[in-house]
Amino acid sequence: MTLEATFNLPFLFRRIPKTNLTITTGYNGAFCLLEEESNIEDLIRNNHERLPKEKISELEAKSLVSTQSEYALKASLHASSLATQIYRSLAKPSLFMIVPTLRCDHDCRYCQVSRAPINAEGKDLSAKNIDNALNLIESTSDEELKIEFQGGEPLLNFKFIKEFISKAKVKLKEKNVSYVICTTLTNLTNEIADFIKDENIQISASIDGDANTHKYNRPSKYYDSYDLLQDKRRLLSEKNLDSHTSYIATVTRPSLGNAQELAEFFFSLSIDSIFIRPLTPLGFASSTVRAIGYTADEYMDFYKQFLKEIIRINIQGTRFVDEMALIHLNRIFRPGSTQYVDMKSPAGLVLGGLIINYDGKVFGSDESRMLWEMTHSKELIIGDITLSSDLDFTNLTKTLKDSFLFALPGCSECAYQPYCGADPIHHLATQGDPIGNKSDSFFCNFQTLMYDMIFTMWHNSNDARKVFRTWLKL
């Protein structure tokens, strides 16, 4: 539209492999997909008149190019968006994870915490620490927060959860708190189900696939983990708790060839969403890696098929949400709406959430706890509620201040920078250095391929775009 010449603002770009698409993004989080291979060259070489007029208009509307007269304004808008985004990342933690016990009735193949047998002693978080835990949460959290009980198997120490919540209702009464229990469900009882209902608690239940897959990934030496899980799912239904429950699945190597079947299996459970995730390649013996592990490419070949199947299901008329795709979609289209801890810049470490371990030690992320179990390196500990409710993360401040994506090698020029996050503990654990070599990072490869896939589908598939939009509207 404009007759004035346009100039480039600082943007980021990436040619999406195996397509003709080039994605350009700005510090304001806007993106524009260029359809011709030559477009990016013409754009950068200031031959804007060679691009389709509508593309230049779109780039101009999104402040990736600008006329001379608006240039300073656009730059100030970029800086304002970036400042707002950083400010949000620096907000107080809104996620608090608590490990009531390390005991567990499962022997999951990919379990990264040194779980304890169900009758082990000294593996429970003692209820006498609740006051300190609540003091810590009260003083560090914002008005809205989520408290997640993790494990071990948290329901093996239900007594703690019950006491914690009754005290939290007093201590945190000024705040808007939601509770989640991450569980395998096998220890669900009538009493617990009623409590979950009365206290309006959400359940995040693990289910990895059909009986064979689930039992392969999540065996139990006490019972048939799949049958019992299904029994407990019936109990949830009887208690009208289906709407309280969401499901999470972890993928191991044997499932990689069964993407479609897996998607159909989850759909057959009559649930309305599934959160499917790759393994965190942390602390496995190499034999384990060979049996259950995979590269990011291998995982994404699987996941692409999986997501296609999910989209097909949605197109046929039933809403069935893939939460992993939705997280990425939210990062792209609704900046600020998701506070997913892995996807923050600066990193979500400490600032995104805290975890209180069964022994009272406080960590800045779930991965920090896992890494501590592996290395016992003291810098990871930021507090101990058996002693006090104080926090001290001075040891982690350098890691945090080195976690701005615009300043990280490998990230600073990446087109997905506005949507991605730094994961220093992942890189510390896998590469021995919090910054890491991104070209060799599972985290980076996975995120890059995810965004490649989502943008490609968004552009090339009407069905995918339609389904993504219905999810985004939720």
Binding site: M1, T2, L3, E4, G26, N28, G29, A30, S57, E58, E60, A61, K62, S63, T67, S69, E70, L73, K74, S76, L77, S80, S81, T84, F333, R334, P335, S337, R469, L472, K473
Partner: protein
Amino acid sequence: MAEAIRIDTAAIIDAQDWSGLYVLEKYNSANTDIPLLPILTKNPKKQNEYFILQPFSSEAIGSIHTLEQLDHFSPGDIVYIDGHHGKIRGILNAKANANTLLVTEQCDNFCKFCSQPPKTKNDVELYEKAALSILNYGRNDLTGISGGEPTLNKNAFRTFLQTLNSFNNTTPLHILTNGRGFSEKKFCTDVTETLGERFCLWGIPIYGYESQIHNYLVDADNAFIETVSGIRNLLGSGQAIEIRIVPVRDNLKSLPLIIDFIQSNLNQVTYVSIMNMEPKGLARKNFNSLFVPQHDQNSALLEAIEIAETHSLKIRLFNYALCQIDAYLHKYACKSISDWKNYYTDECNACTKKTECGGMFTSADGRFLEKPRAFI
């Protein structure tokens, strides 16, 4: 002009000498520390006669006669007697779906479709009248402030807010402004500090995604940059912003790009309103060059709404008749036309969606009316 669904004026006689603002029937508050308006009160013994009372007095100092019942007003309403035209008009009316006070007719934009073209004469007393009206009105309803450009006279605007504050008034305001004044950071800070805890929603127009279209439509150089900078500064002060877009022939195609612009650069705005043009004032004069029938706006509206939805940017349509637009758009269409300038045609009476529909502007009659098609 067609007849509105709520009449806001009544004819009066013997009022030549009594032009001015009045409170109807009674004071809502016994607050003697505010500058009080005189009262207009019904003569219980004589139909259609109203006495004029001084504050702190039950003695009438004059009277007027109405030619009709003042049923559309309620006790406590602020009314204006226009003695010259023999009319009484509601200023703050409890029964209205929206009350808006005009604080100036001066403006530094000259929008091609302005329903009320700006004037140049000094009218600073309109701020005073608006402040008096708000202070004397007992209710705390959201009240519109409009112009002209309310912030063009920066001193008067600040004084207006300070006056309300000084009497501890907390009326929430919806201020329609072109936002250009707020490109000056100091003014923005002054105003938002003066507002303090008062709720305020700023309705600010953006008619293009870049200077050229916007400046052309508002007929002012530099307007786009100043408006956008103003919005940016207001957002930085934590203010709630409503962006208002009027689609006309020149900018209809770029409507989706305007949404892209807002989403990419100003995504903290509270919501976006797409407002169909009212065929009044300059819009009536320039009708042929500006007008796009509502049904021809469908594809641009659908595309704009799709972008907004995807980004969860709140968006709504104002001044659209349901029979003229795509069914998908119905849930975004608001019954938005102020009742005193709103009507339905005979055709509409047969329509099953009449109660959900915004209907027409009273000014949209004759050749300006887009023929309704009743949903049966």
